[in-house]
Structure formats: C-alpha cells, structure tokens
Symmetry: C2
Subunit: 597 residues, 2 copies
C-alpha cells in the first residue's frame, strides 16, 4: 500500500466508489444474471439510442456513443443495482430545446453544443453530490413531475409526427408544432406514412398483444415477455430490409444513411463563455429533472429488494456519466424509467449489468452501423411515439382534483405551460407555483379554538367535537409554524377574537403544532403579549416543544410574558379554568369509533 492509500479510510473510499463494495463479492452466478439482463437491455437500447439522438436533433451515432462510456462510469460510481443509464426521451427533448436556444445551424456546432451541455450538466451534478444538495430535488413536487412527464410525452409524440408523415416541421411547444405540421401537411410522403403508421401499429400490438400469442404457442411467459421486448429490433430489421430491397429511399423515404463505424471519438467540450451562459440554465434543469427521474425509479426498484440507494452518491454517479458522455461524443444521459424496469425484471444484480450493456452497444457501434444505412427515420419515430405515450397519464388530474385543488392547479398549470411554452418554462413555472401555493397556504394558517374532551386530557376544536370550555379562558391552537408570512395574520386573528369578549381573563396559545418561531413571529408575539396586557388579559402558552422552547429562552419574551408556560394544555386548563373536568384515565370507546369520521 502506498502512503496515499493509507490516508484514505476504506469506508470513505467505498462511499465514493460503490464498485469497491459490490465488486469484491462478485461471482459467476451474479455475472450470469447480469449478462442475461445486459443482452436484453442492449437489444432494447440499440433502436432507442438512435431514436432519441434523432429526437435531440443530433446524428444517430451520438445516441450510441451516449450509451457506452456513460454506462461504465455509472457502474463505477452509482449505487443502484438496476438503474439503466443512457439517452432518455425527456432529456433528449430538453437537449433539443437547450441547443435550439443557441440558434446554431452548422451540424458540427450543434453536436459540440450538445457535448458541452452534457459536460455542464455533469459538473452541476457532481457539485451537487459533493455539497450534498440532493434535497434540492425535493422541491419538484410529485404533481409537477407527473404533469411535466405527461406534457413532455405529448410534445415528443407530436414532434415525431413529422417523421411519420415524411415532412419538415419544427417547434418547441404544441402550438408551434401543430401549426408547422399543418402548414407542411400537403407535402406528406405517402410511402413514409405507410411505413410509419404500420410500424406504430405493429409496436403498439407487440407491446400488449404479442406476449399472450407467444404464450399461446407454448412459450414460457418469461421468454415470451423477453421476445416481446425485441419488437422494436424486429421493426428496425423489417423496415430496413423493405427499404433496401425495394429502393424506397429513391421515392423520398427518409433514411438514417451513413453512420460512422468505430469506437466513440474522444471529444472536448467547448469552454466559450457565450455557450456556457447560453446553456447553463438548461443544464441545471436537465440535471435536476434527470436526477429526479433517475432517483425515483432507482428507489422504487431498490425497495423491492430491501436495498437502499444513496441519493447524494447517485448525483456523483450521474455526474460522472454525463462527463463521460461529454468526452466520448455523447449528449446528456440519465437513468431511464422503462429500461431500468426491464433491466431489473431481466435479473440484473449489480451495476456490472450496465457495463456489459456498454460492451454490447460498443459492438454495435463498431460493426453494425452499415446495416442501418437503409433504416427509415419513420421507424425510429414510431419507436419513440410508442415509448413516450406510455408516459402520458391524465389520471393524475383526476386524482389531484379529488384530493386537493392546490395540487390540481400545480399539475394543470405544469401541463398547460409545458404544452404551450415548452419544457423549460413548463417545469420552472410548476416549481415556482408549487412553492408559492405552499407559502400562500402557510401564510393563512388554520387556527382552531379548542376545548376539553370530557373525561380525558385531550383538547379538540370546539366546532367539530363535543367539548367543555370556560368563558374566562380562550385556547387557540395555531396549526402552523409561526414565521414572517403568517405573523401578522396571527396578530389580526387574536385581536378580532378577544375584542368585545367581556368575560375573558386568559388567552392560551396551544403550541402543539408550532415547530418553529422565527424572529418576525417573535416580535409579533411580543406585540400580542403587550397589547393583551393593555386589555387586562394574560397570555399563556402550553405544549411548547423542546426546540421552540430552547429558541424562546434565547430571547427576552419569556421574561415579559404576562402569563405562564404550561407543559400540557390539561395542566393549563386545570390551573386557569374555574371548571375543568378531571380526566378518568379510561379510553372512551365512543371517542375511538368517531376518530375515523
């Protein structure tokens, strides 16, 4: 061992290099499982990587390159056993939007911009991992993600219609796309349309209908399932052969054409300040969206086997993958939902499955590219359409509508804004709206006046439960932490409640739901205490939590407080109220049965 190695404890090294952990327990059995999974994922990934590169507006080979080195990097640094990293639909669409902002026309400049985007995104992810900023992803709420994915699926499917129709059309939002498609509709190439429509129909049927047929033929359900996954490869082979055999490309059917054969090139991202400025915002969005998509699927799959993933290390894994993409001619990558599920179902045991997949794609890049010269782009478009339409889930609108109008409006706004203004504005607006809705709600907290549930030490809302109260005491339970946005609301609420109530002597604030009191709220409490004193009323606190009490003790509020601080509301009631029935210690069956109503 060198001195350098002695200085780095092994546990710490394992945290940053998970491969050291699972690598030393690697055996033939695990390798076999990983290999089988890798073969299936490779078959699925070859057409997908070509198709997504097309979606991103890049040459097809960049999709292959993005599926080699990035997978190896993730195998070294990632913590998920089943995550399949590579080009994915949503990130490809976002890449197209990001590079589109730059207004480039030269294909080499566009490719360089995509490479640079992957590099910036990788650096952002690595930085977030090192500084443990993974929690930032939590600010993408589930409704915003669901709305964004649904809208992106529609945008992507619509953007691919041009390849099915064999026409030219552009746009980053639904209106632009639809207008452009409509304008070019008369130019439709009918042979392309036949190929595209037939492939789409075939792929939809393969997805749902092939597996039962194969089982009917006597195949095992698992083998039938794997064969069904090869549907896109079959479509690629058949349509390529058809075009090759009948020379349809001479009738205007767009084909993939020359794809360079060989190892991924060594590339260097641009370091032009102008390009970085133009791409940084997009790279940040791509990083966060990619991370969230990746972590969601990785967590779901890990939980099935009682494993855990480490979100901050996932950032490092994905960051390394994107940097790897940038130095080997790729574009931004992340963990894909569908491929990861296939990888898991096919039996992947360790990240090595990803490395084996990379070998499969490397083989394809070195030897198979001449075979796809006659591959119609309509076939690739059909692959994309079938893949992304499974992401579209309008059910989220109904589920959130039933549960909460605020969540519903976040979903609806994200969907509408993504469709109407493109992916970047859509998801940014969704996040901002979620945060604003949350702040708005916490700025007008629910405040309940509570009374004693007779026979217990339990206090409940006087409007919802049969409770005992005393006319000289009012107890208010504030159902929100106190902070600058609701401090003034509380002041107004208390004055409105106490003014004109002649018999009142004591105001108790029940702090059971107050988890934090910031400086603004402290000043409001001081003002409330002072003004209530002026009206001859004492202010008391009850059920103040430990951390809140610690904080209050550092101010002079407790010194000037006109009343007492009680450990429990029951003690406050027994001490201050003229009539406060004693608890019996019995559990009322009636109370229990109503708890769920």
């Amino acid at each position: 061992m060198t001195p350098l190695f002695n200085k780095v404890p092994m546990a710490r090294l394992k945290r940053y290099l998970p491969i050291l952990d699972w690598g030393r327990r690697y055996d033939t059995e695990t390798a076999t499982s990983d290999l089988v999974a890798a073969v299936i994922v490779t078959i699925m990934l070859i057409p997908q990587s070509l198709a997504y590169a097309l979606l991103a507006g890049l040459p097809a080979e960049m999709g292959l390159y993005a599926s080699i080195l990035p997978l190896v990097a993730y195998a070294i640094f990632g913590t998920s056993r089943a995550l399949a990293v590579g080009p994915v639909a949503v990130v490809s669409l976002m890449t197209a939007a990001a590079v589109g902002h730059l207004g480039l026309t030269d294909p080499a400049a566009i490719a360089l911009a995509a490479i640079t985007l992957a590099f910036i995104s990788g650096v952002i992810l690595l930085a977030m991992g090192v500084f443990r900023l993974g929690f930032l992803a939590n600010f993408l709420s589930h409704p915003v993600i669901a709305g964004f994915i649904t809208a992106s699926g529609i945008l992507i499917a619509t953007s691919q219609l041009k390849h099915i129709l064999g026409i030219d059309a552009h746009g980053h939002d639904l209106i632009e796309l639809a207008t452009s498609l409509w304008a070019h509709l008369p130019e439709t190439n009918f042979i392309t349309l036949v190929i595209g429509a037939a492939t789409t129909g075939f792929l939809f049927w393969v997805r749902k209908g092939l597996q039962p047929v194969l089982v009917g033929w006597g195949l095992g359900p698992r083998l039938a399932d794997i064969l069904a996954k090869a549907g896109p490869v079959a479509a690629v082979a058949l349509t390529t052969l058809a075009v090759f055999a009948s020379g349809l490309d001479r009738f205007g059917v767009a084909i993939v054409g020359d794809v360079p054969r060989g190892l991924p090139p060594l590339t260097v991202p641009s370091f032009s300040l102008e390009i970085w400025t133009g791409l940084f915002g997009s790279a940040l969005l791509i990083s966060i969206i990619g991370f969230v998509e990746s972590v969601s699927v990785a967590q779901t799959l890990a939980a099935k086997k009682r494993q855990r993933i480490e979100p901050d290390q996932e950032l490092i894994g994905l960051g390394a993958s994107n940097v790897a993409a940038a130095v080997s001619g790729g574009y931004p990558v992340t963990g894909g939902f569908a491929r990861s599920v296939v990888n898991y179902d096919a039996g992947a045991e360790t990240p090595a499955a990803g490395a084996f997949t990379a070998i499969g794609i490397l083989f394809a890049a070195m030897f198979l590219t001449p075979l796809i010269y006659y591959l119609p782009t309509a076939t690739l478009a059909a692959t994309i359409i079938v893949a992304v339409l499974s992401l579209v889930d309008f059910g989220i609108l109904k589920r959130t509508w039933n549960y909460s109008k605020a969540d519903f409006s976040a979903v609806a706004a994200t969907i509408l804004l993504t469709l109407g203004f493109g992916v970047e504005i859509g998801v940014s607006a969704g996040v901002v709206l979620s945060v604003l809705l949350y702040l708005y709600r916490s700025s007008r907290p629910h405040i309940a006046e509570v009374g004693l549930v007779e026979g217990t030490e339990h206090f409940r809302n006087i409007l919802r439960h049969k409770v005992v109260t005393d006319p000289s005491v009012v107890t208010l339970r504030v159902d929100e932490s106190l902070f600058f946005a609701n401090a003034r609301y509380l002041e107004d609420y208390i004055y409105a409640r106490v003014v004109g109530d002649e018999g009142l002597r004591h105001v108790i604030l029940m702090f059971s739901a107050i988890n934090e009191i910031d400086f603004s709220a402290l000043e409001s409490l001081e003002a409330i205490n002072e003004r209530l004193s002026g009206m001859g009323l004492k202010l008391h606190l009850s059920e103040v939590k430990g951390p809140v009490m610690d904080r209050l003790q550092r101010s002079h509020f407790l010194n000037v407080l006109s009343g007492e601080v009680f450990l429990s509301q029951y003690q406050a009631c027994r001490t201050l109220a003229t009539s406060c029935p004693k608890a019996t210690g019995e559990v009322s069956q009636l109370a229990m049965s109503t708890a769920r109503n």
Copy 2:
C-alpha cells in the same frame, strides 16, 4: 337620491371611501387638533420635500408637488388617522435608482420618468388593493425590512456627502459612491463644507439638545418639543440668509436657484412601452416597500388608540396618492415614519390633518419659492443626513444573532447586498433568501420519538423528558406539515428508524403538529404504509386534525392503512402497548415547574 346611489349600499361605499365615515362626525374640536398638527407637519415637510426631491435626482419643486394632491387623495381614501403621506427618504432613493436604469440625461425626460414611476406604482397599489393582495407584503420579513432600512440609511447619508463637500459624485451602491467621492475629493469647496458641517452639527444638536434647553428657559415640554421640530426650517432660513447677504454663491456654493412659483402643473405620465418595461420591476418594489413602511407605522399608531387600520384599503389610499402625484408633477410617495409620528404626537385626529398640510404646502409653492433661491443644497443634504441616520439600527444584527442564525443571515445578507449592489438587488435578495431559508428548514423537519409522561395522558420527546415506552411500539411526532419538500425526508427517516429493530410491531405517527398533507406527501405515506406492511409492521395514526382528516378521507389511503386512526395518542398507547400506565388526572407540580426549563 339618484338611482345610482340607491344601488350602492352605504356600508360598501364607506369601505372604499373612509372619509364618508369620519367626515360626518367631524366637528370644530377635531378640526382644531388637526389644524395644529398640520401646521407642525407643514413646517417639517417644506425642507424635507425639497431635500428628498434632490435625493431622488429631481428638481426641488417636484418635492413640493408630491406633498399637495397626494395628501388630499390619501385623506379621502386612507384609513389611518395619523399617517403623513408624501416624499420619504427610502422611496426617493429607490426612485433615483429606478430612473437611473433608464440612462436618461435630459432633465425633462427624467422628470417624466419619475412621474410615470409614480403612476405605475399607483396602479400596482390600486390593483393589489382591489384584489386584496395586501398579504403579499407579509413576505417581507422583519429582519429583511430592518436590514434594508439600515443599509438604505447608510447609502442615503453617503450619497449626500457630495452636497456637503460641494463636489460631484455618483453611484447606486456604497463602493461606487465611495470611489466617486474619493476621486472628486480634491475639488472640495471649503465654504460649502463649512455650511454643510455646521448645519449637520446644528441639526444633530437640535434633535437631542434643544428641547431640554428650551424647557430650562421655562417653556412647556410640549411647546419646546414643537419648536425643536422647527430646527430644519431655522437652518434653512439662516443659511439662505447667510448666502444671500454675503453672495457666497459666487464662490461656488451650490444653491437651489429658481424654483417655479405657482399651482402644481397638470401632468400626464408616459405610456411608452419601453419606459413601462424599464420601470415596472422598480415600481413593484417601490410599491411593496412603501406599503410595508406605511402599514407598519400606521398599525403602530392605530394600536395606541385601540383603532384598526384596513391593510387592503391602505393599498387603495396609497395607490390613489401615487396616481395623484403622477397627474400633478410629483413622484412616488408613501407614508413616512418620522412625519407620521410627529403628526400623531401633535394631535392629528383624522386624515383631514393631511389635507390641511397640503394647503400649507400649496401656499409655500405659490408664494414662498422665491425666498429659497439662495438656499444652499448643503443645508438640504444636512437635513437628509440627520433624518436618515436615525433609521440606522445595527442592533438588529445582535438581536437576531442571539435568537436565530437563519434570521441573522437574512439581515446580514440584506445589509451587505443593499450596500454592495444597491437597494433593488438588496431587498429582492433578502426576500428570496428568507423564503429559501424557510423552505430549507421545513424540508428537514424536526422528528421526535415520544413516550408517555407517567400519570398523565401527555406524550413527550424521549430524549428530553422522563417517559414510559414500549419496545413493540414506536411513536414518531413529525413537527412539520407534510409537503413535497419533506415527504422523501420522512420516508428515509422512518426506514432508518425501523430497519433492524426486531421487537417492533407497531409504528404510530402522531399527527398533532401536522396541519396539511399535500399530494406528494400522501403518496409518500402510501409508500411508507406499503413498505412497513411488507416488513410485518402496522402503521397507525393518532391526533389527526379535522382539516387533515377531511382531506385524507378524499383519498383511498385510509382504506389501505394497515393500522388504526386514534383520536388521541393516549388511546393509541392504551390500545396497542403492552404496558401503558393509566393517567391519574392529577396535575404534577414537578412537571409544571419544569415546563419553563
């Protein structure tokens, strides 16, 4: 009565026109009080309005115009009995910054921009009032306001040093100002410096030292106080006379010069899209800052007389004032802190005091302007410096440091950014930082494992209190509403707690501090329930609040929940735990005495 009037209920009209309410009870006695207050405020306002116009980079007469019609408009629409509306220091500084962005050089264009700024600001305030958006002002936390006012005071005082030195200097932040002052220092006009320094010294002395001297001469303390308020007018008169008598203006002492005499002009704001785009952001900030400053002082003064102000109607009052300023040659106005306190102390009873003040200023504009031809700008600068230094309060740094590091960092950042980058960036960054700090804190909530305080029905943190627990039951109290930003944190926390705890059978989530569960958190709860079931653990809820229960009942979570929902945690404990001591109903003196510790 006309049919139109019949259709509008009087109560509603009174809400929008408070003058209808206090106006009909107006009598001679109230009028006398208002008149006395108006005379004092007028004497104070004449030099201030000239000085603040200078600070805003505008001709002196615009300060006078901003002190006439806006005061009448506020008297009609405002709800505060004591608020003195007109030009104020911070808003004047913000006006200078806003107009400065446009890069104008023609004085007429600058004046038109300031008029337009008042108009946009008025429209924003009116719109906020009509749509009842006054709560938006709550997002300016007390620390941010305190930091902003302190830093603005320093910036304003520094910006006035050029007039005291008789040199030319510019800048919107402290570094620009200091560099510019330093560069021009050799050009100092020493006669100006003598006038400026002497006036500043005189005004500081008047502020603290004059009143006791006058009392010593046998004057009543109240009259002495009023006379002390006339200090700036005396300084104006004395220095003007000195320059006039000795012809110091010929030695380079800058003077106010020609100020047009007459009624305020009728002006029309610009409706150029370019100017509106350039000013809108600044107008929004000016509106909110002006509103917050105004409402704080109005609320404080109203509380002293057990009166209430109506924040949403205040927006309409201030909006009307700014529109009035825009049509009569003024610039943005708001309620000033110092003048309002003087108005209140001098006995103002109704908003009519403001209207009387307007008459006083109108008189000055029509007849007194020739008298201030020889008024040195150094005198006005001295007035501003003495006024704004009283706003500087570095004590807020110490108070927030002791109470909470998060609040401290909001103050410190606001002060530093305001000094370093100017008022607009300073206050915007302060607001954004406050919101981010709040979100960060609520994204990692305090979670306490609780147990029973023996002999009671009360549950407390096992780490802070002597409590009874059962190895088969774990009760977690989450001290924060559950929402998208902390849903995943909760999942992780629960898994980390239960994995490896072999004796465990039941997990109880005590919901006493949970005020809201959004859709993201609902999905997390469903995931937690499912995964705990998989581990053979039952998930129970206790003390779920009414509004939260209503919400949960609209989802299918309660149908799949593996355990029960208990009305109180005590019932959960008695039902699930093998040992859960019965409550005695007695109040423990020991427990009470420790509540404050």
